[in-house]
């Protein structure tokens, strides 16, 4: 995938670019808003990572200008500003996701993956399938093999989100934001408990587990390769 990184902190930029290249992406970089805008409008990208505070042209303005040119490339904002309502401002300006510094690289990668995949959605699905686990979105029912699984509404949403992002790392923050719609960090790791309950329902008694913990990152649902 082709990614544009606009970041004025050169060390953070180098780290970001290296990390993304290691993950197999093609990366262009810019260290101020004007260069960023020129690049964004002249080349096709699959997604852009843009810092909120940039010299010459502010990150918010940059994204607004890109959006005015009917460019819909997904944008992930990076911000070192305080949080309370900056997220809202960022999303209003046309950003698709918002990550506060300091962030874990796996978090950034996971969100970027989710953004880029959202851009190329397959035909509207009414069934999701991972291995022998099936989720019927119309009847809101789940079954593994021939055994039906009884899920609470929230467990269903959790499983749905994981399965829509099958074979992708999904972080705890992403789950909290997408499944529960909370944008704060609970003191206790509540997500782990929800996951372990879900795991008990879909994986217990089966030889091949589907829901995996990715150490230091989050979770991933995938059938054994």
């Amino acid at each position: 995938m082709r990614i544009l990184v606009v970041e004025d902190d050169l060390e953070a930029q180098r780290y970001l670019v290296n990390g993304l290249r290691e993950a197999g992406h093609v990366v262009d970089d810019a260290s101020d808003g004007e260069i960023g805008l020129t690049l964004a409008l002249s080349r096709p990208y699959d997604s852009m990572i843009i810092d909120r505070m940039l010299p010459k042209l502010d990150g918010l303005k940059l994204v607004e200008e890109i959006r005015e040119q009917s460019n819909t490339t997904p944008v992930l904002f990076l911000s070192a500003l305080s949080e309370v309502d900056d997220r809202v401002k960022g999303l209003k300006a046309g950003g698709d996701d918002y990550l506060t510094k300091p962030y874990a690289f796996v978090e950034l990668l996971a969100r970027l993956d989710a953004l880029m995949r959202r851009r190329h959605p397959a035909a509207v699905k009414t069934r999701l399938q991972v291995g022998d686990l099936e989720l019927d979105l119309l009847t809101r029912s789940a079954k593994r093999g021939e055994t039906s699984i009884d899920l609470q509404p929230r467990e269903f949403r959790l499983l749905e989100y994981l399965m829509r992002h099958a074979s992708q790392v999904v972080t705890r923050t992403m789950l909290l934001e997408s499944v529960w719609e909370y944008h704060f960090d609970p003191q206790t790791n509540v997500i782990d408990v929800h996951i372990s309950r879900l795991r008990a329902k879909i994986d217990r008694g089966y030889e091949a587990p589907l829901l995996h913990t990715v150490r230091g990152a989050g979770y991933m649902i995938r059938a054994r390769a």
Binding site: A12, A80, S82, V84, P102, F105, Y182, Q187, V193
Partner: protein, 464 residues
Amino acid sequence: MRAPKTLRTLAFRIVLVYVAIFAASAVALVAFTYWNTKRALDAETDQTIEAEIAGLSEQYQRLGIAGLTDVIIGRSMRGSLGLYLLTDAQKRPIAGNLDTWPQAKPREENFIEFDFERRAGGGIERHRARGKTFALTGGFQLLVARDVDERYKTQRLFTTTLPWTVILMLALGLGGGALMSRNLLARLDSINRISREIMAGDLTRRLPLTRDGDEFDTLAENLNRMLERTERLMKGMRTVTDSIAHDLRTPLNRLRNRLEGVLNHLGGENVEAREIEAAVGETDTLIGTFNALLLIAEAEAGVGREAMAPVDLPVVVEGISELYGPVAEEKGVSLEVAPSGTARIEGNGSLISQALANLVDNAIKYTPAGGLVRIAVQNTSAGIALSVADNGPGIPSGDHARVLERFVRLEASRNSPGTGLGLSLVAAVARLHDAKLELSDNMPGLKATLLFAGRMSRRPALAS
């Protein structure tokens, strides 16, 4: 039933007092003038009567009863205002233009006031007279009086019209007062309405000015100047927190990046990798504490006010109890939600959720297995109360105020994880919403209550 708003205003009350004072002094002035004039006129009448009596008694002494009779007949014929009656000792008339001796009782110095019938034109009119009786030597009685009917009628007219005049004066005064209060109210209402909007978070609003340049404009100008200052201070606060955030987050970001880089480089399981991982964990704790402090500072500065919207508390409670349910169950603590109807407040939903999450998190953390944590929303007379109660060890009542301060954690819990900022954040969120955070003894356990003053939402809540 309450009086209409116009009648309860200060302007109307001031007008009312003025009208009352004005009416009272007008009545006093008129009454004084009236009494004085009456006294002067009475005195004049009395002097005339006295002089006449003196003259007549002199005639009697000089000419005897026959002479006096002649004089009285003569005077009676003149048909002026003078009234005369001469009688013998048994009050039988001898001469004069009055037919009978009046029944009225003499007042001071033999003066009397009485009504008599006067032939005028074709009929008879009752007139009022004032006169004096005089006993002559030989048992004869003399009455000399004057017809004062004109003056009496004027006086009657005066006493009957005066109350009506006062009533009219009061009515006009009250009407004018109400009109004036309505005008004042319209100005005050606009100032009040806009002040409320500003308090609700829109600091860019200003009070309107008219071209009159009156006291209200001066007031509005001063308030506007104050608002400008407040807005500038708020912006300053934002800039400060933003730059602190930026200046600390940038190096923290680099630190975390470097540690992650080293970790990737090392790979696999070894002592160094574990140490670096622990260091990454410490960085995250540092970031967590920093974020919590920043959020508290912002909430206290009122930064979240712009995002205020109607929030249905039972919906917030449902979300958080659903999020924490499994955590509680895993610990063997029952998490209960007391049933309640809708309870809407104007607030920042995200911050209230976070505050409630902190309270529930704490309650579960400090309640031993088998315990109970209960969340309730209640409409009380003091406002809407959102409470989280547990039956854990509680907090000694002397420490209730202390735990709300930043960083304070009680000795007994020093070793459990957490930043110690949880309750401070709840307190800051409470202040942002003009709510009160109260800690009380749940006998046993701790009960934390967020009391939102009865400031109900004016707009309907968004469907969630």
